[in-house]
């Protein structure tokens, strides 16, 4: 059995505002093993990005983690002091964000932003740090990295910037990378390039990845295991191919059926009716019940997370195996 890198149990992150209390994450449990790519899939507002921030200790006011635990290699991150968390961030656990235009500081040169990351965690000479940066940029498919290093972010294309952000995340060879929709803003051909380079690098190093995305198709080409999120909860979890072939939760089933390529061309798409509920006004019981065509009176009670097989679990009263 492979070793656990990250073990999240019953994590609850809450936001309080004038509109009410919202559980952005509601008793979320997720394990990530060494060298594993976990795809965290959900639609907007499902809490998938908040999962990343919660792990990194980057939940900002007015939000806070109110329950559960996050163990990184046996160490509970919630019990660590700010300085200890900081020393883990970027070193052992790194994160990449969605918008390549925004994740680099516009007034600092690329080399500054790379070197400062190394210097924050290692006592290293600037020259040596630059050398490592150049090697990594090359591996990320950036031509003539020496020139790129001396440029400012706005002189680079979106794809280049995202490559640099990924290189920064990989600099210290972390155990775990949290990638929050890193290719969503990019074109298909650039997305393919970046995924290709990223995959090569993490496989060489055996890095674990939490790949957060709204795009099931992207997740399916990347991930070993999938976790599907709806309204702050993981509603279904299991090996990627297994879930895509035999989804158990009605939401996953609906999601898969609404993807055009899964339907017969020109025929109406099967759709999930309605829209996702606001987190401040969740229905009691199963959050998906109002949109679910398989709902029964039982669904007015909150469904527990059911371990259906050794590797599959779903948060549903009536999980069914249906070929999508």
């Amino acid at each position: 059995m492979r070793k656990l890198v990250l073990d999240i149990q019953n994590l609850t992150t809450r936001f309080e505002s004038a509109e009410g209390i919202a559980n952005a994450l509601d008793s979320l449990s997720l394990e990530i093993y060494e060298g594993e790519v976990v795809g965290l899939v959900g639609e907007s507002g499902s809490g998938k990005s908040m999962t990343g921030y919660s792990i990194m200790g980057l939940v900002e006011h007015p939000g806070s983690i109110v329950g559960g635990s996050i163990h990184y290699r046996g160490q509970d991150l919630r019990l660590l002091g700010p300085e200890q968390i900081r020393s883990l961030r970027g070193d052992r656990i790194a994160m990449i964000f969605q918008d390549p235009m925004m994740s680099l500081n516009p007034v600092l040169r690329v080399d500054t932003q790379l070197v400062e990351t190394l210097k924050a965690h290692r006592s290293i000479q600037k020259k040596e740090a630059l050398q490592r940066a150049i090697e990594l940029l090359q591996a990320m498919g950036i031509p003539s990295p020496e020139i790129r290093l001396r440029q400012y972010p706005h002189e680079l294309s979106g794809g280049m910037r995202q490559r640099i952000a990924i290189a920064i995340a990989l600099l210290l060879e972390p155990d775990l990378i949290i990638a929050d929709e890193p290719t969503t803003a990019l074109d298909v051909t650039i997305q393919a390039q970046i995924i290709h380079e990223f995959q090569t690098l993490i496989e060489d190093r055996g890095t674990s990845v939490l790949w957060i995305t709204h795009d099931l198709a992207v997740a399916s080409t990347m991930a070993d295991r999938l976790a599907i999120m709806y309204a702050g909860q993981i509603v279904e979890q299991g090996p990627a191919e297994d879930i895509l072939a035999r989804p158990m939760h009605p939401y996953t089933q609906g999601l898969l059926r609404s993807i055009p390529s899964r339907n017969i061309r020109g025929k109406p798409l099967q759709q999930i009716p309605g829209s996702a509920p606001s987190l401040t006004r969740l229905p009691s019981g199963c959050a998906f019940a109002p949109r679910c065509d398989q709902a029964t009176p039982l669904c007015e009670l909150t469904p527990p997370l059911k371990q259906i097989t050794a590797i599959r679990s779903a948060r549903c009263h009536h999980p069914r195996e249906i070929d999508a």
Binding site: A18, E19, S278, R281
Partner: protein, 296 residues
């Protein structure tokens, strides 16, 4: 249950947000009282400070709470001419507010029209308007007003003219930048695609969406205009002595202050401060409430 909040209209939502700051609500109340006091000054003031028949020169410079031989009590004392300070202040407030609000409103109209035209028409018209705006904004308000009044001379109309001239550019710039942002939005293209006329798009669609910054800036500018007018009057370049605004009252009392007759200058000053302060607090809150980045 869901519908209570969803059905809420934009203005009501803004008010709900505004209400959350008790400080700002108090400021709004104070502001309203001040405006009412100014509007109804002739009915509220115990004495008509312009009526020479009721003013007795022997009552001059009486401290607060003194009473005249007629039994009339000067709650805030009297000034150098023997006028009741409270009455003089109410009338002064009236003039100050009149000048500030009127100049602000006219400046808003001019600035908004020019800003919208600049943003929507673009090209050399935009360039021309904005060069003039930059030119105006390059020089501080007080300086332009000073020079203008030095050339024009005193008078209510001249002060208002000067204040309009120094203010319109702020509105033009604010409206233009708001309108440029709005113009990029797809609803403008949708309106074009639906064959709506240019004026209809400009005034019916774009303008209502540019009002938030104008309201905020307008509030702040009225406060600043009142303050500027007071400064000009204090320097002796603003309103004539026949129409004493708060600034002029302060100026008149200034020479008496060092001899201990503080009330002639202090009370009008406090009223001026309260007026400008409460308007600014309201404006500051409006900025938070109407900021689209914060409200969504």
């Amino acid at each position: 249950m869901i519908d209570d909040i969803i059905q809420e209209q934009p203005w009501r939502r803004a008010w709900r947000h505004y209400r959350q700051s008790r400080f700002a609500v108090i400021a709004l109340i104070v502001c309203s009282i001040i405006i009412l006091a100014a509007v109804f000054a002739p009915w509220l003031a115990p004495q008509n400070p312009y009526d020479l028949n009721v003013i007795d020169f022997f009552d001059s410079k009486l401290p607060p709470g003194s009473s005249a031989p007629t039994g009339f009590i000067f709650w805030l004392g009297t000034d150098g001419q023997g006028r009741d300070m409270l009455s003089a202040m109410l009338y002064g407030l009236r003039i100050s507010l009149f000048v500030g609000v009127l100049s602000g409103l006219i400046a808003i109209l001019i600035g908004m029209a020019l800003g919208l035209v600049a943003a929507y028409v673009g090209g050399w018209i935009d360039a021309l308007i904005m060069r003039v705006v930059d030119f105006m904004l390059g020089f501080p308000t007080i300086l332009v007003a000073l020079m203008l009044l030095a050339i024009l001379g005193q008078g209510v109309d001249k002060v208002i003219f000067a204040l309009i001239l120094v203010q319109w550019a702020y509105f033009a710039r604010a409206v233009r930048s708001a309108a440029l942002v709005e113009r990029q939005k797809e609803y403008v293209e949708a309106a074009q695609s639906l064959g709506l006329s240019q004026p209809r798009i400009m005034f019916g669609h774009i303008m209502p969406n540019c009002l938030a910054p104008v309201i905020v800036l307008g509030t702040m500018q009225v406060a600043s205009a009142i303050s500027t007018e007071a400064t000009l009057s204090f320097l002796g370049l603003g309103l004539p002595i026949t129409e004493p605004s708060l600034g002029l009252l302060i100026s008149n009392g200034y020479s008496n202050m060092l001899s201990g007759r503080y009330w002639i200058s202090l009370y009008p000053g406090l009223l001026l401060l309260l007026t400008v302060f409460s308007i600014n607090v309201v404006g500051d809150r409006l900025r938070d409430v109407l900021n689209p980045r914060l409200s969504r």
